[in-house]
């Protein structure tokens, strides 16, 4: 099954018009020594029904968290995805189009991205959003590079309480750019401990941080600015329905994962990393940006703009090497935010906060768990397990049909007896109650 429409006769006609008889002549230009002697060793071709059977078998070997009551978060959350989203994403005019280089026939994609940028600005309280980046880790790395470029400094302060998936990617990028990363410890409240930042390009904190604790962005930003460093916040966009915006709290850059806004968990991707900045940083920002303009008739229309920053114009001097923008994921976010509206989004965020607080209280009351941090938390919290180990608890959760939490020892050896639990609006009281009871019995 290879989706090639040519019949044998038609192929003959093609070759004839090119003046050759044998298709192999088309590849004469490949040096003999480089030609493949035998076809690569692949599975035999499958028809559509065979594909369905094969992939069905593979899929059935998984135990998807989205289909059982799950308390696993750590950067990816099991929020409800309304049915409309997939119907919009399945519009072939959206998903089979390329990057909107020809604006006259791409107003659909361009308008949707403009709406996405607007929504990101309104959530973050910042001036300019790009069209999206690969994911939040990439957005973190691009933030680091942008800050280093803008301040001409090569040291970055990163809170230890940032998602380790992000800080590991930061380390990878930093080592090749001779950027130094200094980690900032967390305190008993779970919040970052600040210090003097006068030699830093920027301070990167996450809020709510990896432990779910809400950081004091105003304090961090003020201290960063005192040292002429930039303040960057990785913020889950759903939390921004309720929490003070990074812009209002003085941050210069906000970024994060938009997975919690209508994207399926999909074993880690595709997601979309958003990034928003203050106007002063607009021309230093990576990625695509859509801008408003007019056509020759004076009608409002949208176009890719500020392209002088980008690789296809500036080559090695570009602000970033990024080309694509996860447009379809950004579209999903836009549809999600349109469907939920201000009230719905606040409801999803507030129910997640309420239910997480409810589970936390419930577990602590059993006497077998205690809260690790005193700070306020959103949707997610760390508990110290005084009885069974986190691994034992997770395995018991699995047996009982749940997906348990994240074992913090994987990334934080000092928290080896701690479990990170997330609760979204999807969990019912009955599920939470049963989970808490099972955990108390282990």
């Amino acid at each position: 099954m290879n989706y090639i429409p040519q019949t044998k006769e038609e192929q003959k006609e093609l070759l004839c018009s090119v003046g050759i008889e044998d298709v192999r002549e088309l590849f004469d230009c490949i040096p003999k020594k480089a030609r493949l002697k035998a076809l690569p060793d692949l599975k035999p071709a499958m028809t559509e029904p065979e594909l369905i059977e094969y992939f069905g078998k593979l899929a059935s070997k998984n135990r998807p968290a989205g289909l059982c009551p799950s308390f696993l978060g750590a950067g990816v959350y099991d929020h409800y995805v309304p049915a409309v989203i997939d119907h919009v994403l399945s519009r072939q005019e959206f998903y089979t189009a390329y990057t909107p280089y020809q604006p006259e026939i791409s107003q659909g994609t361009l308008t949707a991205i403009f709406e996405y940028q607007t929504m990101i600005c309104r959530l973050t309280g910042l001036d300019v959003s790009n069209a999206g980046l690969y994911d939040s880790a990439m957005a973190a790395a691009e933030t680091m590079l942008m800050a280093a470029g803008a301040t001409k400094r090569n040291k970055i302060y990163v809170a230890k309480s940032v998602n380790p998936e992000l800080s590991k990617v930061l380390e990878t990028y930093a080592q090749f750019k001779e950027i130094k990363i200094e980690y900032l410890p967390y305190g008993k409240d779970g919040k970052v401990k600040i210090r003097d930042f006068s030699d830093g390009a920027c301070v990167i904190v996450q809020s709510p941080n990896f432990f779910g604790v809400i950081e004091d962005i105003e304090k961090v930003s003020a201290k960063a600015h005192e040292g002429k460093a930039l303040s960057a916040v990785c913020a889950d966009p759903l939390s921004l329905a309720l929490l003070k915006t990074p812009g209002e709290a003085g941050a210069d850059i906000a970024f994060g994962e938009t997975q919690s806004l209508g994207l399926k968990m999909s074993f880690g991707g595709p997601y979309c990393g958003y990034m928003a900045v203050r106007e002063a940083l607009m021309r230093k920002m990576p990625g695509r940006i859509v801008g408003q303009t007019v056509d020759t008739e004076g009608r409002r229309a949208f176009v890719l703009t500020l392209q002088a920053r980008e690789q296809h114009i500036r080559r090695e001097k570009a602000t970033s090497n990024i080309c694509s923008n996860q447009a379809l994921c950004a579209l999903a976010n836009t549809v999600y935010l349109s469907l939920l509206g201000p009230e719905g989004l606040c409801d999803a965020a507030s129910q997640s906060a309420q239910k997480a607080a409810y589970l936390c209280d419930k577990l602590c009351k059993t006497g077998k768990f205690e809260k690790v941090f005193t700070g306020h938390f959103f949707r997610e919290f760390a508990v110290r397990c005084k009885g069974a180990s986190p691994a034992k608890l997770n395995s018991a959760a699995r047996k009982a049909g749940f997906v348990g939490g994240y074992e913090l020892k994987k990334s934080f050896p000092e928290l080896s007896d701690c479990l990170l639990l997330a609760v979204t609006e999807k969990r019912t009281r009955a599920e939470i109650d049963e989970f808490a009871e099972r955990m108390a019995r282990v």
Partner: protein, 481 residues
């Protein structure tokens, strides 16, 4: 067309979340009074019908592969099989959390493992990482691997990456982000790699060279093996930008040509949709000696189980969170399984045959600066002669093609061709479509001579006419008021 913010009415709602069934506290008690925002974000207030109509109407303003011929050079706009979409949406895949236990994730890990093996076989590489989220991300990953390799040998002087002037813009940009200095070499008079220029560029500072083969001109670099030899002898490594790998599937491999690192764009060669600008996926393959430098995680099969391998000490680290764009990987693997090796072999044959047909017929009306009437999967025409004679630019012709129901070819790239028109038809187009496109192109060439003003004013029959791009850049309006 209205923006979504201009639709709906205050208080109107679409999706409603079931009511909260746990005892509630004041939000200020849970989240902290000082942490709360004063007002809810100003988002649209719409009904479900409002939202569905808005986005459906928006979609209809787009030209897409499924609405017409999309010969966008270098982008490989081949048909996106529908079954692949369905398979990636199986609940067993799309409802998986990336941090679930190995025990819970065996099916996803098996798919990951098998796709890695398939790509390794197709490209003749030892192993692949499936982490990079796009082609440019793959390039960056490859550049980091090359940097880490030299570093591990304490060969710190190797700081220069060589790229030809016909390369994709992402090549020099990626090399630069990985900390390299970029040296650009001029192509020879035939548009191909100039071995003398390469010889001059090579030195003790050479870390490697990035090359697309077939080149962005759609020409196979006939001296590739000599070039590889020269780069290796100088102590450098050779990077294969696999953007054009649709041309070589099952005919040759980057490893046979002498490349050490390769990326492939699953959203080009392996049929996953472009999504209006992503998500894509750009896996990176390496030869044996570079395997230790691959980013983590990698998946192995041990004692009847799929397991995450322990990170190698030499690994560049993590390139992306979790496991890359898994949903895209599912589609690409479905494509490989649907085709099998014979099918993939026919893909490159048909792609190159289609391109040659167009090349032969169009080179009569347009200038073909390079290639002697032959090409691989794509070719580049020049509109310079038409511009000089009739004052009609390549942009004008592209906009006229839009009017005639086509997505124009890639224009003004590669930079070494003036008024470039880069055409890649792909294997999934019929002869009838190709013939109609030739007729359209010939009409455009004729009109350039006879009624240039028509082309200057095009397109007239689309949702909007030409846009004022200068205004957009000079006074940026990047969000709704």
């Amino acid at each position: 067309m209205k923006l979504i913010f201009e639709e709906g009415a205050k208080g109107r709602r679409a999706y409603k979340i079931p009511p909260c069934d746990v005892p509630q506290k004041a939000l200020s008690a849970i989240l902290g009074k000082n942490n709360l925002r004063a007002d809810a974000p100003a988002l649209p207030e719409c009904s479900e019908v409002d939202v569905v109509r808005h986005f459906t109407n928006l979609s209809q303003l787009n030209f897409a592969l499924d609405t017409g011929f999309y010969p966008l050079g270098s982008c490989t706009m081949k048909y996106n099989p529908k079954i692949n979409e369905d398979l990636s949406r199986l609940a067993g895949f799309c409802e998986m959390h990336p941090l679930q236990s190995e025990e819970d994730s065996q099916g996803a890990m098996q798919l990951y493992y098998e796709l890695e093996r398939s790509l390794s076989a197709i490209f003749g590489m030892s192993r692949f990482t499936l982490l990079p989220a796009a082609g440019a991300h793959g390039e960056l990953c490859g550049m980091m691997i090359i940097a880490a390799y030299h570093r591990s040998r304490k060969d710190y002087a190797r700081k220069t990456i060589i790229v030809p002037d016909s390369s994709h813009g992402t090549n020099p940009a990626s090399a630069s982000i990985a900390g390299f200095t970029v040296k650009t070499i001029k192509s020879g008079p035939d548009g191909l790699l100039d071995l003398n220029a390469l010889k001059e560029a090579l030195g003790p500072d050479t870390a490697g060279m990035m090359l697309t083969n077939p080149s962005t001109l759609g020409l196979f670099e006939k001296d590739i093996m000599k070039a590889a030899d020269m780069v290796h002898k100088a102590g450098g490594l050779l990077y294969y930008d696999g953007a054009n790998s649709n041309a070589i599937l099952c005919k040759t491999t980057p490893s046979l040509m002498g490349f050490d690192v390769v990326h492939t764009n699953l959203h080009k060669t392996f049929s996953t949709p472009h999504g209006g600008g992503g998500p894509g996926s750009g896996p990176v393959g390496v030869v044996e000696k570079l395997v230790p430098f691959l980013p983590s995680p990698l998946i192995a099969y041990k004692n009847g189980k799929y397991v995450f391998e322990k990170e190698n000490k030499l690994s560049i680290g993590k390139m992306r969170s979790f496991f890359g764009n898994f949903g895209v990987l599912v589609k690409a693997y479905a494509y490989i399984l649907a085709n099998g090796a014979e099918g993939l072999d026919e893909v490159s044959t048909a792609a190159v045959a289609n391109a040659n047909y167009l090349c032969r017929r169009l080179s009569k009306a347009f200038t073909l600066p390079y290639g002697d009437n032959r090409c691989m999967h794509e070719f580049v025409l020049s509109g310079q002669e038409i511009k000089d004679k009739y004052g009609v630019s390549t942009l004008d012709m592209a906009k006229r093609l839009i009017e005639m129901g086509y997505h124009p070819p890639t224009i003004y790239f590669p930079l070494i061709v003036h008024e470039a028109i880069m055409i890649e038809p792909c294997e999934t187009e019929s002869v009838a479509t190709l013939k109609e496109f030739v007729d359209a192109m010939l009409t455009v060439a004729k009109e350039a001579k006879e009624c240039p003003e028509k082309l200057h004013a095009a397109p007239q029959n689309k949702p909007v006419t030409r846009l004022d791009e200068t205004l957009a850049a000079r006074t940026p309006v990047v969000k709704a008021q």
